[in-house]
Amino acid sequence: MLWNYLKIAWKVLLRRKFFTAISLFGISFTLMILLVVYALFDYTVGPHQPEMRTDRLLFASRMEYQYKDGGVNRSSLGYAFLDRHARPLRTPENVSISESNWSEAVAYVGNQTLKLDQKRTDSEFWQVLNFTFVAGRPYNLREVRDGAHVAVINETTSRHYFGTTQGVVGRPLVLDSRAYQVVGVVRDVPLLRFSCYADVWLPVTTTTDDLRNPDYMGRYQVILLARSAADVPRVQQEYEQMIAHQPVPDPKQFKQIGSHALLLRTAVLSRFARGSQGPGSDQPILRLMLMLALLFMLLPALNLVNINVSRTLERSSEIGVRKAFGATAGRLVGQFLVENIFLTLVGGVLGLALAAGALHLLNESQFLPYSEFGLNGRVFGMALGIVLFFGVLSGAYPAYKMSKLQAVKALKGDTAA
């Protein structure tokens, strides 16, 4: 049965090549655009190197002071504060404190200026996150404690500064006129990974910043690794309790302080959301994205409906014959839906190919530094979901309209129904 439907669908597609081309164009480009957007999204918040364990990692990079008269002051956190209160937390398996943003440092190769993004971290940073080391090793606890001038660099920096990624370990890198010994080379980390992106990572103790400053606000973030995904809420709870126990800095001016440990997706999306930064704060923006995607699909879907209506009405005599021989309306609707889903699936395959091409172009252009967008299982799943949704969305109305045709009229070729 299904096989017959598919054969008919194929023949119909070949009969009116122009219409087929229009439909396929609409479907494949819609899908391409949605897939590219989703791939960017997945690349930003999905599990990718070096944040592989996204279900267990929690990020706290914001401290907010709520003013009595309603305003909010947000900033990153202070080092001494985190070191004293976040490091001893009991529920996480491991805790890492690092600078929340990268800063620019300058190195010179001959007379050429090389601007490098640097981030200062502790040694736990390398245990909590899964960097891929091409050569060497991360700096360790002792080196961080002693403020050793050591550095981990990424492949591109290694290539630009030393001309090679081989045998770089142990050589000096002069950054802002200070010499650091390279101890490790890692694979490039894309810019979209805000929390860990850098060109050069240095021990936090090499900073000129005052690490003993007890202010709540500063330039640091904390990354907590929960023991398991199920343990995440407990870690979040312990972190929030710790914050709740801190005295409010200036009770006359501020009502309360707040800071949250968030999963990667929430942490990234809540940067774009206004208002509170709590654990559920990514929901509004996710809903907005979903709505925009639906709105975006509306026009191509309408177009497909229009074309499908003309196409089915053209086949009214075929429908009349089938009805006259006893096919029920439900059967016919089923057949047309299958045909339409078949069409959208063909478009889907094209769309995937187009998306792969578009992402490849984006990577080649290095539009976003170090990006390696690609299609993966999640993107495929998303594509399949969109295609089925799209197929049903655009196939339902024409099929319904067609099933209402009366056999006698349809046989006469009267399509005014």
């Binding site: 609409g26 819609t30 655009i33 910043d209 026009l299 309408l302 177009n303 229009n306």
Partner: protein, 391 residues
């Protein structure tokens, strides 16, 4: 004739509903994207009000140096940089340098006046800033030695229009950190960037007695044409040599501008690509549906030809019909689009919405005409004898 066409379409409104919705959506998409593009384009066309070539921004980071010593060190740094051969002029400024996406805005009024006006950009600069940024002065003069010990300000053309619409601003007072006497009026100054909305600006002079470092830790310098990496290296080495623990970050303004442009243009380009795709989609769909309709109405058209309608008349009717459908869609679309300026959805000027409406309406008509041309010629070519025999 026109009335007749409207009746024809109105009678087939169920059949045309989908087309109308499609045109409506296409119009709304074109309108929204058009508004954003027109807005950005108009801003881009306006002059910046300063020159950014050969201007470098030097961000200074004093590290752990005690606050009391920072000002003196910065003065040494400035003297040193001034003496370098490739440097023409140096000014101290707060962090809201051009293209930096950093703003310092506040409500500026005439003394004793309390009218709510759009916020103004406030820039803290020195006497040399006029040379560094080549700011064109329309009236009066830029700051100089004569202003020592006095509270003075220079305002931009748009602020003059706002605060002193029908009078000269020179010598009048404005309230910005105390009452200040206006000594000059510059052309509109748009340091927020090429695509940003013009905003009125006020320049405050850093007096000699202003010995704080914290809000003026950035330097702007004009360098000789052709200065490059060597000078940059020299400056950053000098800064480190003068201040223990100091570091600096040197960025040419042209680089900052490119970076800012990239962040503004990327979403626009993505939007335009999406919009073009949607419109092509609509066009193809329209074309397909029209073609189909012509095939369905062969007998009707054949009959009209048989009783004397000319080929031009037939194609005119087909074109007219689709234009009427487009008009229905547009009417709905204009209703929706009219909500935008009323609710201020996109936050752009009202004139921009009107331009975008006209543009979008024109494009939709153009689109429908282009899509209908071939089907209408097809219809005009129908032979009455052939069409009627099929009946």
């Amino acid at each position: 004739m026109l009335k007749h066409l409207f009746t024809l379409i109105w009678n087939r409104k169920r059949a045309n509903a989908l087309l109308i919705v499609e045109i409506f959506l296409a119009f709304v998409v074109l309108f929204v994207v058009g508004s954003l593009l027109v807005y950005r384009w108009q801003n881009y066309r306006a002059p910046l009000g300063f020159a950014y070539e050969q201007v470098w921004v030097v961000d200074l980071d004093p590290g752990m140096q005690p606050k009391a010593e920072r000002y003196a060190t910065q003065q040494q740094v400035i003297q040193r940089i001034k003496s370098l051969p490739g440097v023409r002029a140096v000014t101290r400024t707060s962090s809201n340098t051009p293209f930096s996406n950093s703003h310092n805005s506040s409500d500026i009024n005439r003394p004793g006046e309390h009218i709510r006006r759009p916020a103004s950009n406030v820039y803290d600069l020195d006497d040399a800033a006029g040379d560094v940024l080549s700011i064109p002065v329309e009236e009066g003069r830029w700051f100089d030695r004569r202003d020592d010990g006095a509270l003075v300000a220079v305002i931009s053309h748009d602020m003059k229009e706002l605060l002193f619409p029908n009078e000269t601003a020179l010598g009048k007072l404005v309230e910005a950190n105390g009452n200040r006497r206006i000594v000059g009026v510059t052309a509109p100054y748009r340091a927020d960037g090429d695509f940003a909305d013009p905003k009125q600006a006020i320049f405050l002079r850093n007096g000699l007695q202003d010995t704080t470092f914290d809000h003026l830790q950035t330097l702007l310098l004009r360098v000789q044409p052709g200065a490059g990496g060597a000078l940059e290296k020299q400056i950053s080495a000098d800064i480190r040599a003068i201040g223990a623990g100091w570091s600096s970050n040197i960025t040419p303004l042209s680089e900052a501008r490119e970076k800012q442009m990239k962040t503004v243009l990327t979403p626009l380009v993505a939007l335009v690509i999406t919009c073009v795709f949607l419109i092509v989609n609509v066009a193809l769909g329209l074309f397909g549906v029209l073609w189909q309709t012509i095939n369905q109405r062969r007998s009707e058209i054949g009959l009209r030809r048989a009783i004397g309608a000319s080929a031009g008349g037939i194609s005119g009717q087909i074109l007219g019909e689709i234009l009427v459908v487009a008009t229905f869609g547009l009417a709905l679309g204009l209703l929706a689009a009219a909500q935008f300026p009323l609710l201020g959805v996109l936050g752009v000027r009202v004139g921009v919405y009107l331009t975008a409406m006209a543009l979008a309406a024109g494009l939709v008509y153009l689109l429908t005409v282009v899509c209908a041309l071939y089907p209408s010629r097809l219809a005009a070519g129908i032979q009455p004898a052939v069409a009627l025999r099929e009946e």
